[in-house]
């Protein structure tokens, strides 16, 4: 750790204590926070949006200036936590597939209909060997023809029918 910090040019990384930061939602739907004497609209981003969805959360000004990084959500006051989690589901916007309701192939093009945590989506992808990318930890990313991404959880986390639909092609 100390060897690493010696390497960074702009000083130490600031870690935010989850117990001391408060989040709230502004009337217009934006995320605001107050921490360490600062207060106002903030941007929040998951730094490992696929592999670690509840740690390493970057907090900063909407313009890009960093406040610090939240290493975990443990100890955060529950209302704050709910608001933050709501915001994190938007950025990056990556719907998590819960069920595949249909997967059809028409010569090279795959037509997907899925139920996600953000509601139903229908999209098209090219051949599956190109459209589905394995991520560390067993999850997969499906990229559709427009570049839109969806998260496909591990095989065992999905129901049998979804598994079978996938297994037919993948």
């Amino acid at each position: 750790m100390s060897a690493m910090s010696g390497m960074s040019g702009t000083g130490e990384r600031i870690w935010i204590d989850p117990a001391r930061i408060r989040f709230r939602q502004e009337e217009g739907g934006l995320l605001a926070a107050s921490w360490d004497g600062r207060n106002g609209t903030v941007a929040a981003r998951l730094l490992f949006p696929i592999t670690h969805t509840d740690s390493a959360i970057w907090i900063g000004e909407p313009t890009g200036e960093e406040w610090g990084v939240l290493l975990s959500l443990d100890g955060m006051e529950s209302a704050s936590r709910a608001v933050l989690e709501g915001e994190l589901r938007l950025s990056p916007y990556l719907p998590r597939i819960k069920r595949i309701t249909a997967l059809r192939r028409q010569l090279g093009q795959f037509h997907w209909e899925v139920a996600t945590d953000r509601g139903p989506f229908a999209f098209q992808t090219g051949p599956l060997y190109e459209a589905v990318t394995a991520m560390p930890g067993g999850q997969r990313i499906v990229t559709d023809a427009c570049g839109q991404r969806f998260l496909l959880p591990e095989e065992r986390r999905m129901n049998g029918r979804t598994g079978r639909r996938l297994a037919k092609w993948l």
Binding site: E26, E27, G28, G29, L30, T41, P49, P62, G86, R89, L90, S91, P92, Y93, L94, P95, Q106, L107, G108, Q109, H111, T116, R118, G119, P120, F121, Q124, G126, P127, L128, Y129, E130, C146, G147, Q148, R149, A167, K168, W169, L170
Partner: protein, 743 residues
Amino acid sequence: MAAKMESRLTAYGTAARLREKAGLTDVLAQWSTPLSETGVSEPRTLVLRKHSLDVQGPNGELLRSIPRSLSSGAAVRETGGGAWLELSLTDGTKIRLAMALLSGIRELTAIAERIGQWAKEASDSDGESANGSAEPASDAGQAEAGAARPAGRSLRTAMSKRLRVLSGLLRYAAPYRKPLMLSGAALLIGVGLEALPPYLMKLMIDGGVLGSSQARFAGLIGMLLAVYVLQAAFQVLRSSISIRIGNRMISRIREDMFDKLMRLSVRYYEHRASAPFIGRIQYDTSSVQSFLSEGLPQLLAQLVMTGTVFAVLLLIDWRLTLWVLCAVPLCGLAAALLWPKMRSLMNRTWNVQFLLQKYIGDALQGVRVIKAFHREEEEKARFGYWNESAVARVIEQQRWSQWLQPGFNLAVSGGIALVWLVIGRQVIRGTASLGTLVAFTTYLSMFIGQLRWNLSLVGQANTSIASADRIFELLNTQEELPEPAKPVPLADARGEIAVDRVSFGYEKGRSVLEDFSLRIRPGEKIGITGRSGAGKSTLLQLLGRFYDPDGGSIRIDGIDLRTLATADLRRHIGIVFQETFLFDGTIAQNIAYGRSGASPMEIMEAARLARAHTFIERLPYGYDTLVGERGVRLSGGEKQRIAIARALLLNPPILLLDEATSSVDMETERDIQSALETLSEGRTTIAIAHRLSTLRNADRIIVLDRGTIVESGTHDELRARNGLYRQLLEAREEARELEEAVP
């Protein structure tokens, strides 16, 4: 405050609704998106009216209405995977109005601009703007129509696609029409000959053996032998034709595939591993070939054969034949049920093999890093994993097909036993001859044998069709950088470059260059610097038309790059990339890469200008030294100098250098610089460098930051100013001082 605002908004919303009911439409623009402002898949429509901005829900219900007098501006906020429309109010509040998916960002940007204008006009004068054109509205309408189209069309396109695959294959066969017809004729005769022996046997048994006429018996045997010889001859003829044609055709398909790979844009490869293409060119084509040259003729032969045998069976005993026929639909049904399973198994096998190839390719390219970090064992384990999964899939596939053959054999034996039973009784009763029994059972087993063959051929055919599918998938890939139909000729470029309001991002929703403009006079020397990731290389990539800008235009001598033939463009531009790539070949080959006819003199001169000659000429094999894959046998600086020589040999009016001398020591760099200066008289040069001394003599230095120009001027001007350049310079100087301080 929030509550007060809310009530104001709602009150206004009611008013708007009332006006709508009254039929007063004052819609300026409209935009629909499939996502709500919280990212839930629920349609929203933004309606921009003269005095308000309305947000409507899925059924057109009004969710929110914001009066124009309260609005001050609109912005698009990109997040990975989508973007929001953010409206600012006069009191500084910001509202997230709606969210677009990546595919909708373009329209979102258009409507945001429109709303921004609308809000600004309100604050400026509150004046007339109704004739501000409802352009975005029609845009949105078009987009909706576009989204609706694919669904209705998909069935038709699927059909036509399948036809296209077939006709595509036939197109490759067209040049060989004559030999193919000959092969077909040989096939028909061969089938006729094959159908003959059992009938001769029947004659032999009934008239020869039983009739005990020696001469006739010998004659029949002779005929039988002759038939076998002819049969063999025709088979040889047929297969020799098909081997030749099949391989020719495949070589043509491979050529077309490679041709296509060369034409596809760099962006196509950014998203794909390169190793599996080797497999696709090799195995997919050979699988198509084996089908075209062996499978297809055989399938035809078997079909003809099946028909013939069936006719003969009917002739011998039609009632029994009809009985036998009842079994055929059963077999067909079984095949129809099994086929989809087989197809999916084949797909699964192929997919894993694809991943295995991809893995091997990646590991081999990174072999130095693997060794440096001592990860051989882990990589072996990863290989083992992919290999195991590939094997498991093959086993799965073969386990399924193993049931097919025995099952079929069982059916055949059952059928024959049945025939023996029925005709045997007739023979005993005297209503049929022994010859009939023998012929019938022989034909029957032939018939069923054919069916079995057909079944396996159909399997093979399907593998090949899957391969053909992938081949045509590649061949029909849409090219992102289409060649213009009627390219504007560019005879001798003077080297004037105009970049006009260009915006560009490699991925949707993440722009790298934003509203970028730059004018370069012919012969001007431009230096570009800026922080890492600022977009410097990206600009060069756009100038070389490796990508097309998302907005704006780039012109050389007043001609838009998109209207130029790529070959014409590249002839006028010499590029040295930031990452040097050399081909596996000799140094001379690599230097002369852009001009195959270059003489040794020219190669040596280019090498001298790039200051590569000293090290090359010291090598035992001189210019004929083999550099290895990607030039691995050379040092970083040596590779760079060869790349510079390669660009110089082209003698282009425009020279683009991306960190071309970054790995070369300072002294050599200065040397190359002076050589370049004498050489670049009247040549437009754009050089990117972090080492600012490299740029000192440029006519103009441009400092990029986050995709925009933050400063421009000569070295001295920029140094005098207190900007980013000065900052970068000071950082450099600091580094130098540090170096000097170290004893």
